[in-house]
């Protein structure tokens, strides 16, 4: 077999521009049968655009895309696209339908046919059990709207598997999964690629995962392919970061660099924030960065309590001058307790409002503004510059920006606001390595200004790198223990949380 006959797709010289801005300036990309192919690139490099062109959701300007079948014969474009399935970063699920229907409905092309629930359940079960037998057995007839984020993701991956696709494009599939689920997913992908010749394109920003799963790697930078089909073993982590064009920012000072001196001069008891549940009490000095680790149940309850969104009064937050209980997120915000959600698409970005309203949303609440002021435009531009967000206009809608850039908009809401407490939910999810470094730096800066930062992350490594203390929750949602900076280690965190990172 020649090199090309093993390919399932070959893309050559792809270009695409929106108006005056060209997003793709000549991308080459090809995927062979049975490989797991890492597609890397910074935020806005053009990965998503290329994927959209491959699936036909967007048209191309120039270049050609060729699909091949297993014999190496060329397929028609329509036929080829039918064999490509995309698992979207923002889940594309039907909340009012059951898990079984979500997976099996695309199998039914004829509206006049009878929808046989038993068959649908069987199809869905077959796909789902390849990921998680237990989940498959329990959840087939649950409504998707009642699933958690990561359960929803599993359903979407199962649907792609079930569609009989020969090429699956996974756009950050692990962003919502726990370490254990990620491990299961990887096992499934390895088995499928080995046994059936399925090809997988894997977009992720987590270097460790890429190393674990991918054989081959393509790097796109600024709309061009800079590394085309190179074996993972031939590339070092530093080499990859350099190729992605983020070498400058990756040398920025890290967590170990100068610790903020703030807490020493302001030791007054009034500034201490106390968080408490039955049998557990934690006092946080201004400027502390508290990491939160563990499976979602525990951290989610803590975060709801800290942001005033909790229904149950499990956690209390106390500070001199604050009421005993934060009754609503609005109250929390006005007292200077900020929150950046991890569910960007559903709970974060205000999709129908322009960038300026998205960025200034929290500021308007904390200030109690009645009017949208004239100075806001300049303020917004300053914030965008500080975060290195490239936008044509502050009046554009957020969906004109890439996913990682939208994440920056959410952070901008609380950047530079004189806050007492800032709760961050996975602020580095779906963000490339260079931007991650920037975000770590921002977190340290905000802490240095006296804000208490509470930061939930599923990446233990980044917690240990940036935080002063880490609180760990076990898989049942109970508080498993605290780690101080002096005795940080991954092993301890893993044994406390019961999850491998």
């Amino acid at each position: 077999m020649s090199e090309t006959s093993k390919n399932v797709i070959t893309v050559r010289g792809l270009t695409k521009s929106y108006g005056a801005t060209s997003v793709l300036k000549g991308v080459d990309f090809s995927v062979a049968r049975g490989e797991v192919h890492a597609l890397l690139g910074g935020n806005g490099a053009g990965k998503s655009t290329m994927i959209r062109i491959i699936t036909g959701a967007t048209s191309k300007n120039e270049g050609d895309i060729r699909f091949f079948d297993s014999e190496g014969r060329e397929r028609s474009e329509a036929e080829g696209r039918a064999k490509v399935a995309v698992v979207h970063q923002e889940l594309a699920l039907l909340p009012h339908l059951t898990v079984a229907e979500n997976i099996a409905l695309p199998h039914h092309r004829k509206g006049a046919a009878v929808f046989r629930r038993a068959v649908a359940a069987g199809q869905a079960y077959d796909a789902l059990r390849m990921i998680d037998q237990d989940f498959a057995a329990r959840s087939l007839h649950r409504l998707v709207g009642s699933l958690t984020l990561h359960e929803g993701q599993m359903v979407e991956i199962a649907r792609a598997l079930s569609s009989g696709a020969e090429l699956i494009l996974l756009d950050e599939p692990t962003a919502n999964l726990t370490a254990l689920e990620t491990e299961r997913l990887f096992a499934v992908l390895r088995r499928l690629t080995r046994d059936t010749g399925l090809s997988v394109v894997f977009v992720s920003h987590r270097m460790k995962e890429i190393r674990q799963i991918a054989n081959v790697c393509t790097i796109i930078r600024d709309g061009r392919t800079v590394v085309d089909r190179q074996a993972m073993e031939e590339l070092t982590d530093a080499g990859i970061i350099e190729k992605m064009g983020q070498v400058a920012t990756s040398h920025a000072p890290e967590g170990a660099a100068p610790r903020p001196e703030y807490r020493r001069d302001v030791g007054s008891a009034t500034d201490i924030i106390t968080i408490e549940e039955a049998g557990f009490r934690l006092e946080l000095l201004p400027g502390t960065v508290l990491g939160v680790a563990g499976a979602p149940a525990g951290p989610a309850a803590l975060i709801e309590g800290l942001t005033g969104a909790a229904r149950k009064k499990r956690w209390t937050v106390a500070r001199a001058g604050w009421p005993d209980h934060l009754r609503s997120p609005r109250m929390a915000a006005r007292l200077g307790a900020g929150f950046v959600t991890g569910d960007r698409a559903h709970k974060g970005v205000l999709h129908s409002l322009p960038i300026i309203d998205n960025v200034l949303a929290s500021r308007r609440v904390t200030r109690g503004s009645l009017l949208t002021g004239r100075s806001e435009g300049a303020e917004c531009i300053d914030l965008l510059n500080a975060l290195k967000v490239k936008a044509a206009s502050v009046w554009d809608l957020p969906n004109t920006l890439s996913g990682g850039t939208q994440q920056k908009l959410l952070l901008a809401r609380w950047l530079g606001v004189p806050s007492r407490l800032l709760v961050l939910e996975e602020p580095t999810r779906g963000v490339d390595i260079g931007t991650k470094r920037e975000i770590y730096q921002l977190i340290r800066q905000m802490a240095a200004s006296g804000t208490v930062i509470i930061w939930w992350s599923t990446e233990n490594v980044e917690l240990l790198e940036v935080c002063d203390r880490v609180i760990a929750f076990d898989t049942e949602g109970r508080c498993a223990g605290m780690l101080e900076r002096d005795d940080f280690s991954e092993e301890k965190l893993v044994s406390l949380t019961g999850m491998a990172a």
């Binding site: 039907l94 339908l97 069987g122 077959d126 020969e166």
Partner: protein, 336 residues
């Protein structure tokens, strides 16, 4: 295509470890609640006015409720897809006027009825076209057709009411295709079953829920979103049209304003029946029960002798109670 294609070995649908479907009780929890509420309401009225609980009065209620039931079934289809149809009342009136006028111009009952249904088909297609192809908001589109059809209903006869010309036309409503069962009941039952089965058992029926659940996700899954929405608006207008025919066949007279109160009642019936105006939920049985509940309330208000101006307030409170029950019987976690 063979060989390397990813094939998932088809297994029999697993039986032991998976519940195949939810139990009938949990699937129709809302509907059972409404049915109980209707019974309680009827008993409450009966305790004040004994003749409320006679067969004669039940017949009154079903006869009075049949047009609303049919119209609610149509509105339900649109509401499930996440849309709204404000034009049904106007289409109802216009159909009556056009059919009566056609009979006055020498058409027979059947051909005049077909012309009347043509009105529904036309306005349903206009609604569907403007919503799907032109991409306008359903509320705006059907507000426009509501206004246009409503004014045309006056123009047909210059505002006069129009008696029915065909002496046999009463048979449509009150005749018995099946001996012993009046047609209006037959139509309600047949359409109820047909639509419930369509929504639950047919692939296209599941598409209605999929589109209302998330039209973007449905589009990405390859579900024909536009076709599904178009079908919903056409079905809604056709049912409104048919409901108009049934009404003029009953009272043997067509009025330009006959349907003006029905549109809000039909939307209320659908909401009482458990559908969300945000789309994605609702059942045909629920919509029919909602329509029956409104009719029972109206009937009760009349029988007890309360000033009929109170009808709207009583119906409003009933909607409120129904929606509150629905809201609090669902898991509180879903509430945002």
């Amino acid at each position: 295509m063979t060989g390397t294609q990813v094939q998932i070995a088809p297994t029999e649908a697993p039986t032991t470890e998976i519940r195949q479907r939810e139990s009938l009780f949990s699937a129709y929890r809302t509907e059972i609640t409404i049915a109980l509420a209707i019974v309680l309401l009827a008993l409450a009225v009966g305790s004040q006015v004994p003749q409320a609980l006679t067969w004669g009065n039940f017949a009154n209620i079903t006869q009075a409720g049949a047009p609303l039931i049919l119209m609610s079934l149509g509105v339900l289809l649109v509401v499930i897809t996440g849309g709204i149809d404000l034009s049904v009342g106007s289409v109802f009136s216009l159909t009556g006027m056009v059919t009566a006028q056609a009979m006055a111009n020498g058409f027979g009952g059947i051909s005049a009825s077909l012309i009347g249904l043509g009105v529904g088909l036309l306005f349903g297609s206009i609604n569907g076209f403007l919503v799907t192809i032109a991409g306008l908001a359903p509320f705006v589109v059907t507000l426009i057709t509501f206004a246009v059809a409503g004014s045309l209903a006056f123009i047909v006869t210059n505002g006069r009411s129009m008696p029915i010309g065909d002496p046999d036309f009463w048979l449509l409503n009150s005749g018995s295709l099946i001996p012993g069962v009046p047609n209006y009941i037959l139509f309600c039952v047949v359409l109820l079953i047909a639509i419930e089965v369509f929504l639950k058992k047919m692939v296209a029926g599941r598409w209605f829920y999929a589109v209302g659940s998330s039209s973007t996700a449905a589009y990405l899954l390859g579900i024909p979103v536009k076709r599904t929405k178009f079908m919903a608006y056409v079905a809604s207008s056709l049912l409104a049209s048919f409901s108009g025919l049934l009404t003029i066949s009953y009272i043997l007279n067509a009025e330009s304003t006959a349907g003006s109160s029905l549109m809000l009642q039909a939307i209320a019936a659908v909401v009482i029946g458990g559908a969300s105006l945000l789309g994605g939920t609702g059942t045909a049985i629920g919509a029919v029960l909602g329509a029956l509940m409104i009719t029972v309330i109206q009937n009760g208000v009349n029988l007890i002798g309360i000033n009929s101006f109170w009808q709207g307030s009583v119906t409003g409170v009933a909607i409120l109670i129904a929606v509150l029950i629905d809201r609090f019987s669902k898991s509180r976690r879903e509430a945002v």
